[in-house]
Amino acid sequence: MSGDTRTDEAGKADFEVEALPHLDAVYRFALRLAGSPPAADDLVQETFLRAYRAWAQYTPGTNCKSWLFTICRNVFLRQQERGKRHDEIVEENVNREGPGYDPINPVWSEARGVDPEGTFFGKIVDEEVVRAIDELPEEYRTAVVLSDLEGLAYAEIAELMGVPVGTVKSRLFRGRQKLQMVLYDYAVEMGYIARRTGTEA
């Protein structure tokens, strides 16, 4: 489809009908990427501006929300990279995937005999949960946010992040476990759960 037809009146109307309704979702994602409302604001504006300019590249009726999320994340990552030296970027990417994911969640062992159903999660205030999410490394955070908060399927997240589905699962499952362990430690500090001493059943 040529650029001309997509930036004519019908194309502009399409953008308003198809893309703008996802502004809330893009804002939520931007908040988790950028960490503060002002930074998220800027990120959202930049995202929609670029989306509008690139509208001819979007195939109507396909997953517009994912398309916008992709742009949002790419803008964010490019902003991050600009502040870093090359060796810092390489250092972060080396061995990030690390050892394989273990389906036996370490938090299960910690909570066993004390609160195996994890009711302690429900006692943690929202601000602390959000803070723990925001402190995750970006690839884990993005996978968790897109799956658990925005309901994207593995395949959608894979396309958005430009990685195989297996990598998405690894980042998602390990991201969740990391997040759970941070929240567990916080719950112990706050007395919502007693730290397991090894003598429970």
Binding site: N105, F121, D148
Partner: protein
Amino acid sequence: MSLFERIGRLLAGGRFSGGNGASGAGPVGSSEDETISCMEAVTFLQEYLDGELPEAMEDKVESHFDVCARCYPHLQLEESFRAAVRRAAAGRSAPPELKSRVAELVARAERE
């Protein structure tokens, strides 16, 4: 043996393993009639909760957590975690000022 485990054994015709690896279920990808082990159930727990399992495996995983007293708390813990995450961060709307600003930006871009 708990009541749940006894029911499990009855349903599985004695092949309900309790996770010792010696079950009749064999490698992942059990045949139609076989139930799954605890190890398989927890291996697929995340995908099950994400709705990403094919229907046949989804049914097997669900049945396992229905009958296994040892595994069921793991499911509850994962659900408790997900509920806390959703409650803390889901569904927020963008501020109205941001919506106006974006509409303005798009209108300006349209005129270019």
